[in-house]
């Protein structure tokens, strides 16, 4: 079974067209596209490895050290975790603009409940995760049952959650030292494991764990296959007996929960609880997902690709900073990569196996 069986009605005519124009190199061209279709993370992995090698050569040991390479992992951990949630949603041909806001409000709930309500840190963490789950489920219900476009639902939810976050927190930061004294559990994902010069935070380990777990679930369980089916063609999925609405709600709900975890990891990374953090996480996560080769039209791509996509952004950012380049060059190159990635996706879509 491939990751992305194209829908029947668009497959037939396009296959004819391609066969007409490219009949002479059909086999090689198709073999490459077939490989890319079954292994959608191949291109981002290739770009990632190439980028690491090039920046390694240009920067020498400063870049090609366990310190710098694991630093990149730390820098992409939060966006990477949010991007896992984003991947699930985009695989169903949706989009979630509220991911970053949900992560931040979860972290604020964890902090405020601990300090204002005086409940134990462990319980506050559960409340924060429940908050993420709640907002994610609300998104899912609106998308699946009220049949609103995901872009609109999450655009609204983004504003609502962010405003609620500022109203509730009063923009007040909870300091790292206070958290360390009262509820160190909040900073759990900031703890580190050092192996030689390499530094791994628990947040990085959470990211890697989530990617492995979601890769397994998406490829090996019925629910995972349903997510792809719903994204590829909801009507066909419905006719094949997939509970489309339930699947959609569960995807947004799990996405919200993962954002809750991202909020927890965010406290670990910042040390403090900051209501102003994570405001660009929605755009950054979509960037990682797209560069990672997941199709914005749903049904094709893998979570491993998303991890590579996030790492590519991290490698470019640090690599260019070490070279002393203006930070705008990073944005320029990332922008070019986004367009490149979508071009590749469209090319694959036009040609089927």
């Amino acid at each position: 079974m491939t990751d992305a069986p194209g829908s029947a009605e668009e497959r037939l005519p396009e296959q004819e067209t391609v066969a007409e124009f490219n009949s002479s190199h059909k086999s090689n061209f198709h073999r490459l596209l077939g490989f890319l279709q079954t292994t959608p993370s191949a291109i981002p992995l290739f770009v990632l490895v190439t980028a690491v090698i090039i920046f390694g050569i240009l920067n020498g040991n400063r870049f090609f050290s366990p310190f710098a390479l694991t630093l990149i992992l730390q820098q992409v951990a939060i966006v990477g975790i949010v991007a896992v949630a984003q991947s699930l949603v985009i695989l169903t041909a949706g989009i979630d603009l509220s991911v970053g806001a949900i992560a931040v409000i979860s972290s604020v709930i964890m902090g405020k409940f601990t300090f204002d309500l005086g409940i134990p840190g462990e319980l506050a963490v559960l409340c924060g995760l429940a908050t993420g789950l709640f907002f994610g489920t609300a998104n899912g219900l609106l998308v699946a049952f009220v049949k609103l476009p995901p872009f609109i639902v999450t655009l609204g939810m983004w504003q609502i959650v962010l405003a609620a976050n500022f109203l509730y927190s009063g923009s007040v930061v909870i300091r790292s030292e206070e958290i360390a004294q009262v509820a160190p559990i909040l900073q759990f994902f900031g703890r580190t494991i050092t192996v030689g010069g390499a530094v791994f935070t628990y947040g990085v380990i959470l990211l890697l764990f989530l990617v492995l777990l979601m890769s397994y679930i998406l490829s090996q369980t019925a629910w995972g296959r349903h997510v792809y089916a719903v994204g590829d063609d909801p009507d066909a999925a419905e006719l094949s007996g997939v509970k489309v609405k339930a699947t959609l709600v569960s995807v947004y709900a799990i996405g919200g929960l993962i954002c809750g975890f991202a909020g927890w990891a965010l406290i670990g990374r910042l040390g403090s609880v900051s209501p102003q953090a994570g405001q660009l996480a929605n755009i950054e996560s979509i960037t990682a997902v797209v560069i990672g080769g997941i199709s914005l039209f749903g049904g094709r791509g893998s979570v491993a690709g998303t991890l590579f996509g996030a790492l590519i952004v991290g490698v470019f950012t640090l690599g260019l900073r070490l070279l002393g380049a203006d930070v705008q060059w990073t944005y320029l190159l990332i922008g070019a990569l986004i367009i490149f990635a979508v071009t590749v996706d469209q090319t694959i879509r036009k040609v089927s196996l």
Binding site: R62, F63, F67, A68, L71, Q74, Q75, F166, G170, S171, V172, V173, R175, S176, E177, G190, T192, V199, T201, R269, L270, G271, S272, S274, P275, Q276, A277, G278, Q279, L318, R321, L322, G324, D326, V327, Q328
Partner: protein, 338 residues
Amino acid sequence: MKYLTTLATAALMTAGMSVAASAADTSVCLITKDATNPFFVKMKEGAQAKADELGVELRSFAGKYDGDHETQVSAIETCIAAGAGGILLVATDSKAITGQVKKARDAGLVVIALDTPLDPMDAADMTFATDNFLAGELIGKWAAKTVDDPANAKIGLININVTQPSVGVLRNQGFLTGFGIDIGDKSKWGDETDSRIVGQEIGNGNAEGGRKGMENLLAINPDINVVYTINEPTAAGAYEALKAFGKQDDAVIVSVDGGCPGVANVEAGVIGATAQQYPLDMAGKGVEAIVKAVETGEMPAATEGKDFFDTGVGLVTDKPVEGLEQLTVEEGKNLCWG
């Protein structure tokens, strides 16, 4: 509800009667960059308190986020239409807003730039601000007297953002001057050639950016021992990065702002010294000046020797050095905001 309204009306009337009659229908607009940054939240509180005291009406506006120029433009239009006596403006885009400011002044409103000078500065009637260059200079001098060997220091700087707004440039260049580094062109950062500067990073004024900026600086040179940060949330983020690599005792962080969490971080040893500014005062004095200008026609004057009204700055540290006027953490706490 009715009771509350009656009470409020009564309070307004009492307040109105205690000052000159014209003040009762004077209103003052406050336009800030956003409504979430504690600095602006405090500014609004200071303006409101002074407005209540003088019996004038305060209308507050804010961009939806820092960088939201359009909302500030429409806020000025609203103030002109509402016939306000004057505007206190914390400009997001200190150049682009000047056209709108001119319209307001032509319509007879007094415009005072708060915190951020307009470009050109005389586009506003007066600027009420912290002397940001002096603020930077104070922490620069303190840092130079605190590190063991300033001639061989390794300095990392975490600035605000790529657009190099005037406040960020003044603090940065003030810091370098205070430390004893030749700053070249004082209208921008990044053109210095002193080898003690390891790198100039961008932190967007928040903890997240502070941490990432510090990580990047450590990747460039792990031996950094002096860190300048644009504000205290950035400093807190930078400290987390140092801590993650076990280097928190090897580097001294200096900052600007003097918010209460920042002063608490000075006490906790996260920040070595911070230059404290006084937003409540800034806004309160601004309201006073506008009311005075409307009532008497007398425009606010600049502080002697400067081209703006200096609202003061204090150096807060718990490791005082010789030859500088400094506030203790206790004193800083009494004066802190947010």
